[in-house]
């Protein structure tokens, strides 16, 4: 007989889309990536998953910030697939 799974054992996943710009976009070769993560994760968790999936970005760690809904956001902010998320390298407009 199959063992019944308790609800707490089932982890819901969230597919989070992340926009990439400038050097980050070029390193990955895509302007948007999708990362599957457990629901209720933080910006810091998302970034560590991105670096695992795209090791070519590791040398740029600490050389980008994360925006959530068009605002630069602290690492402990909780995010979901409803948010618009982007990784932003140092800016150089003008």
């Amino acid at each position: 007989m199959d063992k019944l799974k308790l609800k707490s054992d089932i982890q819901d996943n969230d597919k989070i889309k992340v926009k990439l710009f400038a050097i980050l976009r070029e390193r990955v070769g895509e302007s948007e990536i999708t990362i599957t993560v457990p629901t209720g994760i933080t910006v810091n968790y998302l970034n560590s998953e991105i670096l695992k999936k795209y090791p070519q970005l590791k040398s740029l760690n600490n050389k980008f910030v994360t925006s959530v809904n068009w605002k630069v956001t602290a690492g402990d902010t909780i995010i979901s697939s409803k948010d618009e998320i982007a990784l932003l390298p140092p800016v150089s407009g003008g």
């Binding site: 400038a22 050097i23 630069v72 140092p90 800016v91 150089s92 407009g93 003008g94």
Partner: protein
């Protein structure tokens, strides 16, 4: 210029930022500009509103070009009109300084030999 016209404005200050032929990485023939347009527009409006609060400004316009821009061409134009010159000068300076450090726009310096993203400033 028409957008800046105001009969009560005695001063009109314009800043034009051009692509120059030397960058940090050496010779430059053109610059490629990229932006996160939605956030960039929000940030520009925020900076414009701050300038409007700090100085008595009649009108203020900011244009930033995106894509490939050749040496000698303008990448950014800022125009401010105000009753007296000091407000227009100061607001113009404030807007360009803040656009450079707070708006998500990136430039890549391109020459015949290389292409290099400019070192920039991390957003806060």
């Amino acid at each position: 210029m028409l957008e800046l016209e105001d009969n009560s404005a005695g001063a009109l200050s314009v800043f034009i930022g051009n692509v120059r032929n030397r960058g940090r990485s050496g010779n430059v023939s053109e610059i490629y500009y990229e932006s996160y347009s939605k956030m960039a527009e929000q940030k520009m409006r925020e900076i414009e509103n701050e300038a409007q609060t700090k100085w008595e400004i009649k009108k203020l316009v900011v244009f930033h070009r995106i894509g490939n821009i050749k040496v000698g061409e303008a990448s950014i134009i800022i125009g401010v009109s105000s009753e007296h010159r000091n407000e227009a000068f100061e607001a113009c300076k404030y807007v360009i300084n803040n656009v450079k450090t707070r708006v998500p726009i990136w430039k890549k310096e391109i020459s015949n030999e290389s292409q290099k993203w400019a070192e920039g400033i991390l957003l806060e």
